[in-house]
């Protein structure tokens, strides 16, 4: 799965949600020419030609990939995503991928998927490509109305529930639910999570406390996405780059191994075992 740089055309761009001002979009692109990819991998994307003075591409999960198209789901957060929101069919984007490692898939193990907000994106592809969707359970917490997110396709394929967070009580309820679900799956299940950092931290802590095997799909700021800029590092308990797709490990050793070491989210992740991640 050697990554390649593609120049892809926009097939269409579909706004999600019914509000007056759209923030969520599915960007459907012509298919890339890479050989294969796996759920949980990502691409670096930017409009061509540049629509603003923003220089670097941004990382996006592969939300859905078929022979006919690649879908990237995004929320408008900054300059590049604002530029992306006004793209039209026929416009072009630079897409480098597939990048990073993938999420573990075990047909024989009950798998709990915990997604927070835009963290739902990689699981569209995950559920789609899973050999046994009946083994999957999805709990999705979100702040914007459900129609803002690509949840429908997931709910059609597996047991999936959504939880809208409108108040502190809602949040506490979802947290309690997640804690219970993690304990339910701790014995033989597999737990996968993607979402905001406090959400992932909670999932890591609960998983560690009950011995559950959890994997976190992280999002960090990146300039290159290919292991060169060292802008996306996280602290992790990792002896070396190990299974990472990029063999070279530029990280220096931490003073004390207990404090972990800086590893690149792009090259060693973006999917990490929860017990490796130090928040």
């Amino acid at each position: 799965m050697t990554p390649v740089i593609n120049r892809l055309k926009i097939l269409d761009i579909v706004p999600f949600g019914n509000g007056p001002k759209h923030e969520f979009f599915a960007l459907r692109l012509t298919p890339p020419n890479w050989e294969s990819s796996a759920p949980g991998q990502f691409v670096m994307l930017r409009p061509l030609p540049a629509r603003s003075d923003a220089l670097c591409p941004r990382p996006f999960s592969i939300c859905k990939l078929t022979g006919g198209h690649l879908i990237v789901f995004f929320q408008v957060r900054g300059r590049i995503t604002a530029d992306m929101a006004v793209l039209e069919p026929g416009d072009e984007v630079q897409v480098t991928g597939p990048l990073g490692n993938s999420l573990p898939v075990h047909a024989g193990r009950p798998t709990l998927i915990l997604a927070g907000g835009i963290g739902i994106a990689p699981f569209v592809e995950y559920v789609e490509k899973h050999p046994r969707p009946a083994a999957l359970t999805v709990e999705f917490g979100h702040r914007y109305p459900l129609e803002c997110y690509p949840f429908e396709g997931i709910a059609e394929k597996c047991a999936a529930r959504s939880h809208e967070e409108k108040s502190e009580e809602d949040r506490a309820g979802f947290v309690a639910l997640m804690e219970k679900r993690i304990r339910d799956f701790a014995q033989e299940g597999l737990i996968l999570a993607c979402g905001p950092t406090p959400f992932l931290r909670l999932i890591r802590d609960v998983s560690l406390s009950c011995g559950a095997e959890a994997h976190l799909c992280l999002e960090t700021r990146m300039a290159c996405g290919i292991g060169a800029c060292l802008g996306c590092v996280i602290k992790a308990h990792l002896p070396a780059d190990g299974d990472a797709p990029v063999r070279i490990n530029p990280s220096g050793r931490a003073e004390s191994p207990d404090e972990g070491r800086f590893v690149r989210t792009c090259a060693c992740g973006p999917n990490f075992r929860a017990d490796q991640v130090i928040f």
Binding site: L55, C224, C229, I248, G252, F262
Partner: protein
């Protein structure tokens, strides 16, 4: 233009490149990260991520922030250390056909000398680039590059241990008189001057009321700094008789010609490799035709053809 090759002739040693395009330290990893995106051997050379004697952990996150037409970084020279580089990485690079230049950083001139001694023994290393201009480390770094006497002292110490390796000294634009620093380095034994390293800068978020970089300040790079880089290259090239490598916001073959016209013998492509991983490879490909378009037949006559403003 058929042959874009160039020889950077220093007083002690020369650097011969098949074309004037190198990749800048800190923007091209250790080289192998970019192997999927182009033939490394097509490049004039690569300058690897700054190496120190011992591995360095680097600065806390966040380390990068974009700014108009540029980006700030405060990575803090995270690297695996020279020993691991020589053992694990260098053997994997095609050093027979790709000049690999080791960028080195140290907190004292003694350490600089030790590093130089270690690397100058290596056949696979085509040259040394001495980083006396990093704004993102507390000890040494920028300080060496801001004082002509200290810059000369480091250059002398490295020269003594660099053997026959071409010695490049990389300068900072964060000074009042870059020409004075360049002259001091030339007098102390540098073969080549490269400039510029990043400009010290800051980005702040009014919503959180915090700097966008954990380190507070960072180094600005990208097209935003190109005019500053051109001015510095011009001043340095006018002040010294050794070759100059231009660095700063280069993202096209046209940019390369601009730097050569103001006095550079070669250039380094930096932040453009983040925008697109094949940027340096593409510039190498495009250079002959663009040079042709502007009537450039050989680098030396083009370099001396700048007219008054």
């Amino acid at each position: 233009m058929e042959n874009t090759g160039v020889i950077l002739k220093g007083p002690y040693s020369s650097l011969e490149l098949k074309n004037p395009i190198l990749t800048a330290s800190g923007t091209f990893g250790y080289g192998l990260e970019f192997a999927p995106y182009g033939d490394l051997r097509s490049l004039g050379g690569i300058v690897v991520k700054g190496l120190s004697l011992k591995p360095r952990e680097g600065n806390p996150m966040p380390r990068i922030a974009e700014s108009p037409c540029g980006m700030l970084n405060a990575v803090g020279l995270q690297n695996c250390g020279a020993e691991a580089f020589l053992r694990d990485i260098l053997p994997a690079l095609p050093t027979d056909s790709l000049p690999v230049i080791a960028n080195i950083y140290a907190a004292s001139k003694e350490e600089f000398a030790e590093l130089a001694g270690m690397l100058s023994e290596e056949k696979g290393i085509a040259g040394l680039e001495v980083n006396i201009s990093c704004p993102n480390v507390r000890e040494g770094g920028l300080l060496f590059g801001q004082d002509p006497h200290l810059a000369a002292a480091v250059t002398t110490a490295v020269r003594a241990r660099a053997g026959r390796k071409p010695l490049i000294v990389k300068l900072t634009p964060n000074v009042t008189d870059i020409a004075a620093v360049a002259r001091a380095c030339e007098d102390a034994g540098a073969d080549i001057i490269s400039c510029i390293n990043t400009l010290s800068g800051m980005s702040v978020d009014i919503a959180t009321r915090r700097p966008r970089l954990a380190a507070g300040f960072g180094g600005l790079s990208g097209p935003a700094v190109k005019p500053v880089a051109l001015r510095c290259v011009r001043q340095v090239a006018s002040a010294v008789s050794i070759p100059v490598i231009g660095i700063g916001g280069i993202s096209s073959a046209g940019d390369v010609l601009e730097f050569i016209l103001v006095g550079a013998h070669a250039v380094q492509v930096g932040t453009a490799s983040f925008s697109c991983p094949d940027a340096a490879f593409r510039i190498v490909e495009e250079l002959p035709a663009v040079a042709e378009k502007y009537g450039v037949s050989d680098w030396d006559s083009f370099r001396s053809s700048l007219l008054p403003g």
